[in-house]
Symmetry: D3
Subunit: 265 residues, 6 copies
């Protein structure tokens, strides 16, 4: 590998409480020559602690695009949009210059489908299903989806009582395997972290943690870019706005200021 790979893990919420935990998880699992900046969107868009609603997603879109552009300008090789909806993945990819952008959902499915033919996604609320299903179908993975199984918890509850969460996630995963014939499980929220190993051990099928999945796929993408020149296409639907227009419209004039940054080397 030629140089240090620079990756940003961006929680697309204005809420940094989990950043330290993600940073630890990343420290333990990244390659030695990868530098990861863990950050969130700062409180510019309100202190939403979740993105469960399309409304919340849309509310962070503007800032997310600015953040993407900023990360690209700072020379990051890859950006992780740290939410399982993969919000605005195609949009961010358009303005990312030479930086690759990945999302936890897409990353997790790629891994699950190298190990099995059908996966289920364990979600917090039935509410999430329609948007995630649309995204998965657009990726092309609709025929490989066994089911969604909801634990009827909201995002903020996942890390409150770990025993309850562990038990609910396990039961949902078990039902997905038994009833829906899932052959692998994807935990459908980045805040379902810390649980994959035990469920995997008990169920004896692959259980994918989306944050870890996106970290490793981001590293891989960054490496491929550096070594093979496999950087984002800028042709047709991937064409970025012209510089002249960006200047004329006064876009991106101010530097985007991320939330507190934890740099993991």
């Amino acid at each position: 590998m030629k140089d240090t790979l620079k990756i940003m893990y961006l929680s697309p919420i204005g809420f940094s409480a989990y950043d330290t935990i993600f940073a630890e998880m990343i420290k333990e699992n990244k390659f030695s020559n990868t530098e990861v900046h863990v950050t969130s969107m700062s409180s510019r868009v309100g202190l939403m602690d979740n993105l469960e609603y399309r409304t919340y997603n849309a509310l962070i879109a503007t800032e997310l695009i600015k953040a993407t552009r900023q990360a690209s300008k700072e020379g990051f090789d890859a950006l992780i949009i740290g939410c399982f909806y993969d919000p605005f993945l195609l949009d961010a990819r358009e303005i990312s210059g030479d930086m690759v952008v990945v999302g936890p959902s897409h990353s997790s499915i790629e891994i699950a489908l190298k190990l099995s033919n059908k996966f289920s996604v364990i979600i917090g609320q039935t509410k999430w299903e329609h948007e995630m299903h649309s995204t998965i179908k657009e990726y092309g993975y609709g025929e490989h989806l066994a089911s969604f199984r909801s634990v009827e918890m909201n995002v903020c509850e996942f890390q409150k009582d770990h025993d309850i969460t562990a038990s609910k996630l396990f039961k949902a995963a078990e039902m997905a395997v038994k009833e829906d014939h899932a052959e692998s499980i994807i935990l459908g929220c980045t805040l379902e972290f810390g649980f994959y190993e035990k469920i995997q051990e008990k169920l004896q099928v692959p259980v994918i943690d989306p944050s870890l999945a996106s970290l490793k796929q981001a590293e891989q993408a960054a490496y491929l870019k550096r070594n093979f020149g496999w950087k984002p296409s800028r042709k047709w639907s991937c064409e970025a706005p012209p510089c002249a227009d960006i200047e004329q419209f006064g876009l991106f004039k101010e530097e985007f200021v991320f939330g507190n940054r934890i740099i993991v080397k």
Copy 2:
């Protein structure tokens, strides 16, 4: 019809140059008891005069959601998001309360498919095709799409030299009918206004103007809501963010201020 229907036509760009023209077009074509407010997003998001790029779309998302919420609070029956990408249609629908939200693309296709089995969309640039195609497939109309035909003009050129535009649009539409077996034509940009009638007359197939289409479908939706109680579902994927959360996160605290408003009665 029980009362005056209140409709907002919102140009989702921070650029009001065309508002007067749209207002005139609307004045001529609305029902007598409809009141339409024509407005744009104000210059909050830069003076972009087009939304050709996903980047630009995402840049207006936050404001668009706030605008939607504001329009809903002001008691509008229906909101038109005045761009053929139908940007953030599902997102806006989530936060729209009892207000129905429509987009020009969806509205135009509904009309075209009552009059024909296959339609083509005349777009400005090949760049647009992928996003529009994804949207059309998600609506379910993919199998009824004959083709996209691009005139290789950007949004701002459409209204510069009307003869050139008229000629290019006609040629593209003619090719769509002859080569791609389109049976109807949709003009794939709200700024392709003013041309549909002549092309329709010459080609002898329905040619749908997306702004007019969305105006009339909005009126229809507003009417149905008022008279049959057919207002937006708030179940499952349509569930809106809880009021308590909106308050806690401090969302929508400030009233959204639209750009200059032309009120058409």
Copy 3:
């Protein structure tokens, strides 16, 4: 609106018992400047009181085509084929001249999908499902269909004991929402009239009555035709039989005589 819109509501059965009720329903809900002729097929094809079977559909096809041609010649702007199978919709559209033809199923789905992302259809018998599902898939709405739910009643029972029907329709709709994650409900038979409001109020999701839906979509189509020239395409698959052939084959020589006509002004 330029003139009086002329619409025909045609019950495609040789049985006029419900015509009065439909006429009342229409009177209450039409625009003031719409004139609607409510009629049925006369007893030419037997006194079938339902179209539950493909056989019955096919048995009325010949007359339906003649009726369509006649309505077109009489200058109607739009024709409603008053059966939820939308029988011979594309066929009737071919011979309808400048008259737009709509069906209750297509009309209802358009309304449901402006208000929700997934709908269920409440049908009388499982028997109906395959044909309706095929039609819905051909329209392109297959991915938006949550489910069919059958109340196991035949068409003629719907209006016998209103309490029983109301209760069965409500239960089926409730199950569709709870179990199948429907976000809106469509009553899948024109004879399920009179029930939508109460179910809507109790379930708090949109419940679409197909007759009303088709009436209003017909008015809208008629209006658009009159004001924007958006009349049926006659290109490619929409091409009508040549006049010379019609004459040579002796088709439509005799005037089609509708059943008793109730004219609602």
Copy 4:
């Protein structure tokens, strides 16, 4: 084989000019213990000599259903609806009792796909494409269709100047193979008879004649019914109208009278 198989080849037009030719073709190619009745619909529905339009199809629907019922009552084992649109195939199957109903399009595709992975259909006019494509997609064969190629002739011209027809069909088939990567060819009209062998010999790919295809598939179906009890399902969507209703509605009271019948033993 237990007994003589009885098959009806029904030209669903009120025009018997080609019956003799079909009878000869059938005589040459049927099994020895098959009895085929070649007939047409009589002139009841006008003297249409083609079914190119949906209108014409619908105009013969009522009679076709009556004919089907009659054939079933007369004890035929299988009925061929002799038009490449396979008009009202599913409808006729509903009322066919123990008689199997087949169509030339479905029959031809089954044969083509045992010999190749992709087929093209040579049609008379572009007009036909949409309806045939819908039917083929509903059968499930959409992904195996390489293309339609039109020779721009109407049905009645096929048998006028055989040299011209042969030349046009060959050229269209050749283009389908070369340009559209067809691996087999289906002649998309029963009146394209008499040409398959030469094209097959010259092009060296299978060229399927739809009348012969339907004859042989009908014989096969008849045989399977007789020997294995594989007769039409009457469950769910295949349920036939109840006898009581048929009686009550006065359907099928009069015996259907076919056109002149040529009995081929």
Copy 5:
């Protein structure tokens, strides 16, 4: 029919225990002028008595291709690959020369869909479902599949205790009809022979035995080849390896030796 048709029924396992039974079944059901050679793959590939796993399928692929080539050289008109997975059907078809190759799954579905609109497949183990479903979707029949129903027996158990098997198959078929709305049933393993008639009689829907289905479809294909020249295409994806390459690579040098052959005349 011009001559004796020569057909090979090949059990693609190195295990001949059932050959005699198949031979009897074939004797009873073939046309009089058909000669069928019933054989298996000899023990070259181990004594596997089933092909339930992809592994087993792949293990017989090489020999199956050699067997196909050999059968073609021996002048067979059609080859039946006697396993419901239709293993390597497209591959065998490539090297089969003028011999048509059919499989029990494809053959059974063709028959079921002439008699009904939806079928279910009764399989031995859930394990089989994914591969069979993929195959059925590739054929194009995915939308006509009501369900798979598993009896949780392995292949070798089917013929052990006939009462148990009969009872399990019947119950699964009954559930498929009642719960999944199947209108016909396909027994999803060639070793489910001997049961179709009773289930058919009790359930009153078509129940297709896959061995019989493939026998009759093979005879039909052989007949069509002989009489109409409808032999395998060798164009594009159907192109066979060039003779020169086969020679150069030393393929098919040795004659393939089948297992014991039962010749049924």
Copy 6:
């Protein structure tokens, strides 16, 4: 990374001429702690120098499965099946124990779709298209495929005259971008090695070399397995044959002997 990753790159042909070149390419591009064994199938299956035909694919299936089993027993973490058809990928995955199996086609597409929305595949001959298209559709990537473009060369010609090959590949890629609106290019044969960089530089879109793609995806998969326990599922369709059966049938008794092995450390 915990330990040395062991990967096998297996050319699934009995022909080792290119092994040295692949070994060099791998040496240059692998991670330092990866050990790669480059080998081929030995001449057991004839000296085929390509797998262009389904026949050739099937001919190597048996040995490929044995090779997979052997590699798994030798403790490899990942196996690359070095042919762009990804032959028998799902089959090999079934018997691979804890070893992950990847193919060049699947690997390349994953990379292309992180950098673009539409890709084209540059193939040697039109012959290949059908099989590759089927595979790509089964993976789920069908809607992201812009086109296949054939250079009309066979596999063995790619490395004969590099200038000719370079020129033909470039022209095909350029046409794919210009005409088919591809946004990235995949070289559709492992023997198209050595060309990606120059085409990428000239065309300015990502051009994916399938061998390199599969090498890096194999390393990634091996790493994920080692560090997160993400090894192949053995549930449902992924269930492997029972050990008892393998023993009883005498499968895999003899150790599979690979061709000459080049070990790259």
